[in-house]
Amino acid sequence: MIRVDVREQPLNVAALQAEVGRAGAGAVLSFVGTVRNDKGGRRVLHIDYDAYVPMARRILQSIAADVARRWPTCAVVIEHRVGHVEVGQASVVIALSTPHRADGFAALRHAIEALKRDAPIWKREYFEDGSVWVQEGS
């Protein structure tokens, strides 16, 4: 099973973890990207995510499908939030299940790295004295 979404509504982390559970899966893993309150010593007030939504959905779908091809995954779900996200809230969740944990860790890492490299999504950080589009690598 593969499912992806890009949406404005808050992400339900527990529901996504439950969604990928399978009788044959000994490992259920999740990555939850969370908005931090600090950027290089400056206090982050909140984040705004911009996205090319139809393309982002395609890219997330292809990442999930690629993961399912390379590792014996039972289920993969990827959801990314767009719009206004508060400090402490989840901006992205990748949840997947595999028979054994080694494949699960490898698949999860591959998925988040691919998402960060290719998903047409942009983060704007808001500070007390202004805002800035995040540059890659920072």
Binding site: G33, Y49, D50, A51, Y52, P54, M55, A56, R58, H80, S91, V92, I112, L115, K116, R117, D118, A119, P120, I121, W122, K123, R124, W133, V134, Q135, E136
Partner: protein, 81 residues
């Protein structure tokens, strides 16, 4: 032929709009469409070196040719996840 140009994040800020329609000669390569846009919106030029592009929601190289109705997106360095 008409194509649609989409701008995101910093590109949208620099151009001042999210999208525009462009009339171009048939058989044009993406590189030439980009150059046409940059000539109309010089503020974009410094950002072009780090820009990626998509045609109809798929990453594209600047050598690809565009056809009527194509949606061309200017994608600054991404920061999702």
């Amino acid at each position: 032929m008409e194509v649609e140009i989409l701008f995101f994040a910093q590109a949208r800020d620099l151009v001042g709009r999210a999208s525009l329609r462009l009339e171009v000669p048939p058989g044009l390569r993406l590189a030439e469409v980009v150059e046409t846009i940059a000539a109309q919106h010089p503020a974009l030029r410094p950002a072009l070196a780090s820009m990626r592009f998509a045609i109809n929601e798929e990453f594209a190289t600047v050598q690809q040719r565009v056809v009527a109705g194509d949606r061309i997106a200017f994608l600054p360095p991404v920061s999702g996840g």
